[in-house]
């Protein structure tokens, strides 16, 4: 049974994004009208009722975040939509930008009303350069219809959006690194003495949200918070866009209600493993996510049930690997990625990734040792607890979970037992 739903993804491939009228005929900008009626308090109430949590990976309740942010005073405030979707195996934000850009624009305006901001930026990764001009065009058309610019829908509210191009740095998905790069510096994360909502871009109050979160806000105001919250499980409410990929028959971005099982995702939605092979493992949440063995396939896809097993939903990536893949080879590709993307600011992440890569290479070539296994585990834990930002903290997640679930794959690669000093 196909458990996919269409709430956030309702408009995918349903209209031509060159035509704002087609979006309007699908109920577009109705949520915005409602937002003006509700006002900031009313919007936050709807979000709280929906149970929406940040879809970028941190999963902080959006209603709570916006409520705290709306109390920050300031004349000049900024909205940022984080479309720097750099997590490997993740492409669901691309679907939103590609197939329903107006929903994202609408979500940004609703955020601006709540936060009382007049400036908006959407930070789209350089790798999606082919979408930059399409999004600019959507902004332009929205402006012509009076949804952006001055005196929006005669409510006396001004808001405009500028597209900012990323430049190929994974770490810039972290909001303070993203802001640094927008200020003309290299994208290294900041020491967070203040919340971004207090001092963000150019030290101005800044509200930054993921693309999917903002699109969900539009859907929630359109359908109603209570109604949206009926999907999912009691503590993980609503729906989630997942990026299903790897050795699976039907890769793609799908919307699922929280609470479907991993088995349903892989076998019903994804059509099973390519060429009828057996499943070796899943990786959830992208390169920074945990490795999940087939024995956990009946877990429900929701924050609490996965969380109990130390697995994060993260970006919503569901990567499927078949039986022909060796775990150590896979980990090497994950590790190469983090070695390349570590910004070098803090020692645990910079040196940890470097040393783990070296040691992991020995496992790939079958020259590992028992001490090596202990060392990578120790270094991983140092990185997890001592790194400056989320990149270093989550970089060893795959490795640690692989050691937990597939220890035999490491032992098979151990060449000889070295003597400890």
């Amino acid at each position: 049974m196909d458990r996919t739903v269409s709430i956030i993804s309702k408009n995918f491939k349903k209209y031509n994004i060159e035509s704002i009228d087609e979006y309007l005929s699908l109920g577009g900008f109705k949520a915005l009208e409602k937002a003006f009626d509700l006002g900031p308090k009313g919007i936050i109430n709807e979000l709280n009722a929906s149970g929406l949590r940040g879809r970028g990976g941190a999963a902080y309740p959006t209603g709570k975040k916006w409520e705290q942010a709306s109390r920050v005073p300031g004349h000049r405030k900024v909205i940022i939509c984080n479309a720097d979707e750099g997590e490997p195996a993740t492409f669901k934000d691309r679907y939103l930008l590609q197939y329903d850009p107006y929903k994202v624009i609408e979500g940004m305006i609703i955020a601006a009303i709540t936060f009382n901001a007049n400036e908006g930026y959407i930070y789209i990764r350089e790798e999606y350069k082919y979408l930059h001009d399409k999004f600019r065009r959507a902004i332009q058309l929205s402006k012509e219809k009076g949804f952006l610019g001055e005196n929006i829908l005669n409510n006396g509210f001004n808001f405009d959006i500028t597209v900012f191009s990323g430049a190929g740095a994974y770490v810039c998905g972290e909001s303070t690194a993203l802001i640094e790069s927008m200020e003309g510096k290299s994208g290294r994360p900041r020491l967070k003495l203040n919340r971004t909502s207090e001092k963000g871009l150019y030290q101005l109050p800044t509200l930054a949200n993921n693309v999917e979160t903002l699109a969900a806000v539009t859907s929630i105001l359109y359908t109603g918070g209570e109604e949206y919250g009926k999907y999912g499980t009691p503590s993980s409410r609503g729906t989630k866009l997942i990026s299903l990929c790897g050795n699976v028959n039907r890769p793609g971005a799908y919307e699922v209600p929280f609470g479907v099982t991993l088995r349903e995702i892989v076998y019903d939605i994804g059509g099973g493993i390519k060429e009828g092979k057996a499943l070796k493992f899943l990786q959830l949440g992208g390169a920074s996510g945990a490795i999940v063995p087939p024995s956990l396939l009946d877990l429900k896809y929701c924050y609490e049930e996965l969380g109990n097993k130390g697995i994060d939903i993260g970006s919503g990536a569901v990567l499927v690997a078949d039986e022909t893949n060796r775990v150590v080879d896979f980990l090497k590709s994950v590790q190469d990625f983090f070695l390349h993307e570590s910004c070098g600011k803090c020692t645990p992440c910079r040196e940890g990734n470097r040393q783990i890569t070296k040691i992991l290479n020995r496992f790939v070539t079958g020259e590992g040792s028992v001490e090596d296994l202990k060392t990578i585990e120790r270094f991983s834990n140092v990185m997890k607890y001592a790194s400056f930002c989320g990149l270093g903290k989550t970089a060893p997640t795959a490795l640690l979970s692989a050691i937990e679930h597939f220890p035999i794959e490491f032992y098979q690669q151990i060449h000889r037992v070295r003597k400890t000093s």
Binding site: G86, F164, S186, Y202
Partner: protein, 165 residues
Amino acid sequence: MEKTIVDRSLLNSIDEIIERYNCDKHNLLTILQESQGLIPEHYIPEVVAKHIGIRLNMPISKVYDVITFFSALNDRPKGKHVIQLCKSSVCRLNKYQSLRDILERELLIKMGETTEDGSFTLEYSACFGACDVSPAFRIDDKVYGNLTEGKIIEIINDYRGISHG
């Protein structure tokens, strides 16, 4: 590979970009990206980096901090078309190596190299979000996925300007 000759007219165009962004150093990343876009070899020559530094009143070390930090900015010249092959975890599971072998054979170069005529550079890239059509590569800004050997040869020939009717 030929380096770009930086002449007065190129610097004038870069000045236009700088002025469009109010000579404000906060716009450095955008200025660098747009400047690189003017240069056929997809890089920022040292003369240009220095020029931008002077115009924005910032040390050249800061300019190079940004150029070398971001993958989309280059300090060395590349071929006319840059082929970036994704070798992320997803494309690894889907065997990007098979694409690599075909590309290397067709272009007669190895990964990281540029063809003798300067028309193609072949390099690895981090995930660019084409996992639903993996394994994939991108040529300049365009993404190609769901590839077969015949399709790859056809795409390369298209860029070479050779008809295959």
